[in-house]
């Protein structure tokens, strides 16, 4: 169970606002090519590439704790790694103290690694099993030639171990990772991360592999280290509760993009994006008396190699509007979901109206010509679709898909369905809150029709 720390994070958050920008990302994109070996993977073009990070701008100020929150596959880890140059960006730039680190090669980055450290998710895997704690924790000192002799080395290692609460340090120096518990390993990893006096620490779900009882202690330790060593954190997590406890600023990510970005308290108190609302609603309520029926987002997170048009969240969004980027794929999903619920005979009868439902599965079709099945005319298909639309307009909650359909008409023996032109939502500031959100419903001017 997480409790509020003695020090007030919000107070530090206020102080962080005046901090100088430490890391700035502009138009950052990381696409992983789907084919080829390791080397061709990084140079993968837009075709056949997973868009792990897809156009992100953010500024990290000194002393800030930024939380990157999202489901698995949202690109939060990739973003965290790209911010410190561990993953190569395919477009855009990351600058650390004004220096563009995306332009630097592995060799050029090495001196900076001292300042930009990372804590990995799995403490059991991030320590070399064949290396004792003395060598493992102090290795950054050796790598960067920070100590003159063994005596100083030993002193620095002991100091780092004391800082992370592995006391007495002498007891741990000769131990191997296999001799330590998960919490102790993560402490050792933290000691290794701070020993070379870094400025920025990217923590990739540092507590998700730990026991519940240890999680709060590790987070508290990280806050203490931040206070003592003047650190800046990027905290990558899927756990909103820990993000609420730990972060000053929070960025909610969905399919490689930031959908909401602002001060933690504001985001939690008044979520702007439907996805954030859904995430917050998904936090389990321990008291069954107070548990409310919740509307979790339907479906799964889409394939990042073929993201939906427009707002990537629209297929799962309960309040989507016309401009959200409806396309042929969404029609297919709609039909298949309907047929799943119908009796098999009825479903196959309806299915026979369409020659090839799979043809709808291609991505990026803003207008689709549907071939009618054998013995049916395009008018039959149109009538069926209109019937569905009318049915949906009476049902509650309303199916948002039909907002996106502009016209349906027959043409050259095919039923043509045209969707509203998609528009990418841009991050825009909500006045008086400091929260930026990427949603058509929250756009200040020129808001879309519908609802």
């Amino acid at each position: 169970m997480l409790t509020k720390p003695d020090i007030e994070p919000s107070g530090e958050g206020a102080a962080a606002q005046v901090g100088e920008p430490l890391v700035e990302a502009t138009g950052l994109e990381v696409h992983f090519g789907l084919r080829g070996g390791l080397f061709s993977r990084f140079s993968g073009g837009p075709a056949g590439a997973v868009r792990a990070v897809d156009g992100i701008d953010l500024t990290l100020r000194k002393g800030e704790v930024l939380g990157l929150v999202g489901e698995s596959g949202s690109g939060k880890t990739t973003l965290g790694r790209t911010l410190i140059g561990l993953t190569k960006a395919t477009a855009g730039s990351v600058s650390y103290r004004g220096q563009d680190i995306t332009a630097l090669g592995e060799r050029g980055l090495r001196p900076l690694r001292r300042r930009l450290q990372m804590v990995f998710q799995d403490p059991h895997a991030s320590l070399n099993p064949a290396m004792d704690i003395r060598t493992a924790v102090g290795h950054p000192l050796r790598i960067h030639n920070l100590v003159a002799d063994d005596r100083e080395y030993e002193a620095r290692v002991v100091d780092a171990l004391e800082r992370v609460g592995l006391t007495p340090p002498e007891r741990y120096l000769g131990k191997f990772p296999g001799d330590l518990s998960g919490g102790q390993k993560q402490r050792a990893v933290l000691a290794r991360a701070i020993i070379a006096e870094p400025e920025l620490l990217v923590a990739d779900e540092p507590i998700s592999m730990l026991d519940m009882s240890v999680r709060a202690k590790i987070l508290q330790l990280m806050l203490d280290l931040k206070r003592d060593l003047d650190l800046t954190y990027v905290y990558v997590t899927h756990d909103l509760a820990s993000a609420k406890f730990f972060c000053d600023t929070i960025a909610i990510m969905y399919l490689g993009r930031i959908v909401e970005y602002g001060p933690t308290e504001q985001v939690f108190a008044d979520p702007q994006h439907p996805y954030t609302e859904a995430l917050l609603a998904a936090i389990p309520e321990p008291d069954p008396e107070r548990a409310l029926p919740r509307e979790l987002p339907r479906g799964e997170i889409p394939d990042a190699a073929r993201p939906p048009m427009g707002c990537a969240f629209h297929p799962r969004c309960p309040v989507a509007v016309a401009a959200c980027g409806w396309e042929a794929r969404d029609l297919r999903t709609l039909l298949e979901n309907r047929w799943l619920e119908l009796a098999p005979e009825a479903a196959s009868r309806e299915k026979s109206l369409f020659a090839d439902v799979e043809s709808l599965a291609a991505d990026g079709q803003s207008s689709v010509a549907i071939a009618p099945g054998r013995g049916h005319t395009p008018e039959d298909v149109l009538e069926y679709l209109r019937h569905l639309r009318e049915e949906a307009s009476e049902a509650e909650p309303r199916e948002p898909f039909w907002h996106g359909v502009v016209t349906m008409h027959a043409e050259n023996g095919r039923a043509v369905v045209e969707f509203a032109p998609p528009r990418d939502p841009r991050l825009s500031l909500i006045p008086a809150t400091g929260v930026q959100v990427a949603c058509h419903l929250r756009e200040p001017v020129g808001s879309t029709t519908g609802t």
Binding site: L38, L112, F120, L127, N128, A130, P168
Partner: protein, 347 residues
């Protein structure tokens, strides 16, 4: 605060330092201690035979009655093809050489070639495997291609070809024989090490080392090597056994070590073929037997080590937990006779 005296500097640093240095060794020793059953038998039988072989080889000049190329003593030539007797326990060969001495000196040759071959192939194979596994890319492709090509050859044929090449360069000595055998074994080390390096490269701790700013050379030395090397000792003992066979094969074909340089079991066997037809069993029996025993010893040692050290093969011993006798009896009798006092039930 004033009364508290804190120790300055680390406590007992020397002890923990030495413990850390031999940490890996300690693990191996404890695994060997834990061995039981068939692996234990194989391990220890193999170890004893191998130790005897090594001792024989090291102290050959002290153990053997004559040198390997002695054909006369005290002014008398040795009998030609003499049967075993008091002077020559294992008889003499067609060249009037003492079979016992040649067999003992043969152990020495075998050990020399074996050690050199294993060291050469170990260094080259592990190094290439690490480089290929860590860097990948075209280097990996080329090395894998070459190694697979080497693998595709029948090993003896490869050793013969390599023997021809090297004997042209450095003559027919122990080093030449070792080098020709090395060529055969490099692919084995390469494959095993490359495979482990490939999987270790993806491990988080290697990534963490990169994130610390470690150079590739440092990553390979400090992070990959220690984790990759664990699979190597087993191959080494297997290869050691195999090297003896390959050396004998080369010698049998007359390609190995020149007879003037050292005694060699394979060469002796080759010379003894005609003797067998003439009913002289001793010239081929003893070198052959020595070879079989040496190979058996190292094979057993290798298999035993494999069973003991390989985590996927190793079965940890589960000790049976025996409850004290009276506790067990009480649990059985108590429900049947609930009213009987405890003292009665225990009886």
């Amino acid at each position: 605060m004033a009364t508290t005296t804190l120790p300055t500097g680390p406590i007992e640093p020397t002890v923990s330092a030495s413990a850390s240095r031999f940490g890996g060794l300690r693990r191996i020793v404890s695994a060997i201690r834990e061995a039981h059953g068939v692996p234990k038998f194989m391990l220890w039988t193999g170890a004893v035979i191998s130790a005897l072989f090594v001792i024989t080889a090291l102290f050959a000049p002290l153990i053997a009655p004559y040198s390997f190329d002695t054909y006369k003593a005290h002014g008398h030539n040795f009998p030609k093809q003499g049967s075993p007797d008091g002077d020559h326990w294992f008889g003499t060969t067609v060249q009037s050489l003492d079979v016992l001495s040649r067999t003992i000196y043969g152990a020495r040759t075998a050990l020399e070639v074996m050690v050199l071959a294993v060291i050469f192939s170990l260094i080259l194979g592990v190094l290439l495997g690490l480089l290929a596994g860590y860097f990948g890319g075209w280097l990996d492709r080329i090395l894998v291609l070459v190694m697979d090509a080497l693998f595709a050859f029948p090993y003896l044929l490869l050793a013969i070809v390599a023997g021809f090449v090297f004997s042209g360069i450095s003559g027919g000595g122990v080093v030449t024989a070792a080098l020709s055998i090395t060529v055969v074994y490099i692919p084995q080390y390469f494959r095993v090490v490359r495979a482990s390096a490939l999987s270790a490269r993806e491990a988080t701790f290697v990534e963490a080392a990169r994130a610390m700013g470690a150079k590739p050379s440092v990553v390979i030395r400090k992070y990959l090597f220690g984790n990759v090397i664990q699979s190597v000792p087993v191959i080494t003992t297997m290869n050691a056994a195999d090297a003896i066979g390959t050396l004998a094969g080369l010698g049998f074909l007359g390609l190995g070590i020149q007879p003037t340089e050292a005694a060699e079991w394979g060469y002796d066997l080759d010379r003894a073929i005609d003797d067998v037809n003439a009913g002289m069993w001793w010239t081929c029996l003893y070198p052959g037997l020595a070879m079989v025993i040496a190979i058996l010893g190292f094979t057993l040692l290798g298999e035993g080590l494999n069973d003991v050290l390989n985590p996927t093969m190793r079965r940890r011993r589960i000790r049976k937990v025996l409850l004290p006798a009276h506790t067990a009896r009480r649990t059985v009798t108590a429900p049947a006779q609930p009213d009987v006092p405890e003292g009665e039930a225990v009886k």
